[in-house]
Amino acid sequence: MALSNEYIQEKLVEKFNDQVFQFSTDSGILSFESSTEINLKVLQFLYDEPSLGFTFLTDLCGVNYPDHSGAELVVVYHLHNFIENIRIRYSISVPEAKPDVFTATKLFESANWMERETYDFFGINFIGHPNLKRILNVDEMDYFPLRKEFPLEDQTRIDKDDEMFGRG
């Protein structure tokens, strides 16, 4: 049986009722959201349910929407079912004030570093992560650089000392 987006949606709604929402199909991939606290249950269900079988975590990353008050930070999971060859995108959002998300490392070993990267850049706190520390940035950093509040350097600034860059 070919797995279809409609079937996945039906299964999820049947299991989680109104705790899963915002279903949409963006360029062929089914996207949906759920309430934050059931993220592990949803991932586990997608993994275990024989007719769904999303056993491969392709990607995990964060997005920061500073305008979405109370849901500024979003964690996006891309899951893949190799046999049926279908992808889905699942996201949960957390407030910047309390960015707590349960870790998926128990389910996917690959989530380990991807969650560390997401913590490093967005400050999302993955509860239960075995080794939640910075991975790409220096340990002493005291901000989360991919949050929108962290500005890129002003491209028009003129106070740079060119001699430092061998252009003096």
């Binding site: 056993t55 491969f56 920061n64 891309h78 190799f82 992808r87 996917f108 690959s110 990267e117």
Partner: protein
């Protein structure tokens, strides 16, 4: 005792029976800038902590201020052994997002370039595995043939390593006859050399003893660790993005997906080796298809996307529309549609994905690169635990870890 107080030894480091060994950040065995803090008991690896991030360049943040075409040179610097695949992967992501249809000839030309890049990537990896097992000859020998590939890039786009090849919608210029002549030269000379290279290693007693049964992983663990590409296929899972979700008309080509069984260093070598033969076959097919275009069709090298593809310079000087588009593109005045997309290509190391979120502005709102290297390097400890230190070095090179891809 007083004068040595500045040496802060960790507690218990005198009493312990194992040795802490730093491999990297810059060590001949790492082939890139990353560190491995190993705990070794004699020659056996007890545990290891991999550290990455020494060349983090904030690509994802940079991309948030750049229009699409300015992001291409960033992608060069991910896996710099196969930059053209990264470039094409990015173009394909943009084209899918903007719903641009490409002419078949462009697709086939891209396939040629991408498969050349795959060969150069696998060539480096396999010959480096050779170097780490003690056979330097193969590495130096095949470098000449990577040079032939780089000359083709140079003829097509003007540069060699960080290529910035192609544009959204096609190529910046048509392939010259010289490019095709160089391609023919490569196709004539390379298979013979690859055979010699294979003979040097594949049934070589020393090489087999060094690589068989080291750094192995089961298919299930490999999937759990997010392996993709040759490393996953060596473990026996026939997942290849080119087959599963064809892009750039890969469905028009006839090729095999080689798989291994044990997922060890030897299987990874064999899978990469077999993939190079498949790549040669794909290039030959693509070249044949390219040659079958006649007349005006044989001159097509880009799609008609005025909003993203720079007009010809002579048109910019003489025609108003072209001048307008030129300025709009260069100044980044073109707003993207709203939405998000995840698009992946089969990179040299596995599934290279681009997750693009747009809020309708001129630049991506968020761009995330799924770097295969970064994800599968986590498994390194599991691969080498309990083995010999010298096997760990071979495992490291046979995973094809590219520092540029570890750190975005």
């Amino acid at each position: 005792m007083e004068q040595h107080s500045h040496i802060a030894l960790p507690k218990g480091s005198i009493e312990k029976t194992t040795t802490t060994l730093n491999i990297g950040p810059t060590h001949p065995a790492t082939h890139g800038v990353f560190q491995n803090i190993m705990e070794v008991d004699g020659e056996r690896v007890v545990s290891t902590e991999q550290t990455v991030g020494y060349i983090h360049r904030a690509f994802e943040k940079l991309a948030e201020r750049r229009p699409l075409y300015q992001i291409t040179p960033i992608t060069d610097r991910l896996n710099y052994c196969s930059s053209p695949i990264n470039n094409m992967g990015w173009h394909i992501t943009c084209e899918r997002f903007l719903k641009v249809e490409l002419p078949k000839r462009v697709d086939y030309l891209r396939v040629i370039i991408m498969e050349l890049a795959r060969i150069s990537d696998h060539l480096i990896c396999n010959s480096i595995v050779g170097v780490d097992t003690g056979a330097y000859t193969g590495f130096l020998y095949v470098m000449q043939y990577r040079e032939l590939i780089y000359e083709i890039y140079e003829e097509v786009c003007g540069s060699r390593l960080t290529t910035n090849i192609g544009r959204i919608g096609g190529f910046e210029r048509n392939f010259t006859n010289t490019a095709f002549t160089k391609l023919e030269k490569f196709l004539n000379e390379y298979p013979k050399v690859l055979r010699e290279f294979e003979n040097l290693f594949a049934r070589n007693r020393i090489f087999m003893e060094r690589t068989q049964g080291t750094g192995g992983i089961s298919a299930q663990r490999a999937m759990n660790y997010g392996f993709t590409g040759p490393n996953l296929r060596a473990a026996g899972v026939d997942y290849d993005v080119r087959v599963q979700q064809p892009y750039s008309s890969y469905q028009d080509f006839d090729f095999k997906v080689p798989v291994g069984t044990t997922g060890d260093n030897y299987d990874r070598f064999l899978v990469r080796n077999a993939e190079m033969y498949e790549s040669i076959s794909i290039i030959k097919q693509a070249y044949q298809k390219v040659q079958s275009f006649k007349g005006a069709e044989a001159e097509v090298y880009h799609a008609d996307v005025p909003a993203y593809y720079l007009p010809k310079k002579e048109d910019v000087y003489t025609k108003m529309e072209a001048l307008i588009w030129h300025f709009k593109i260069i100044m980044g005045e073109i707003d993207l549609p709203k939405g998000q997309i995840y698009s992946a290509v089969e990179g040299g190391n596995g599934e290279l994905g681009f997750y693009l979120v747009s809020d309708g502005g001129r630049t991506p709102f968020r761009l995330h690169f799924r770097r295969p290297c970064f994800i599968y390097y986590q498994a390194f400890e599991e691969l080498i635990k309990g083995g010999m230190l010298s096997d760990a070095v071979v495992t490291m090179s046979s995973l094809n870890l590219i520092a540029g891809e570890l750190d975005a």
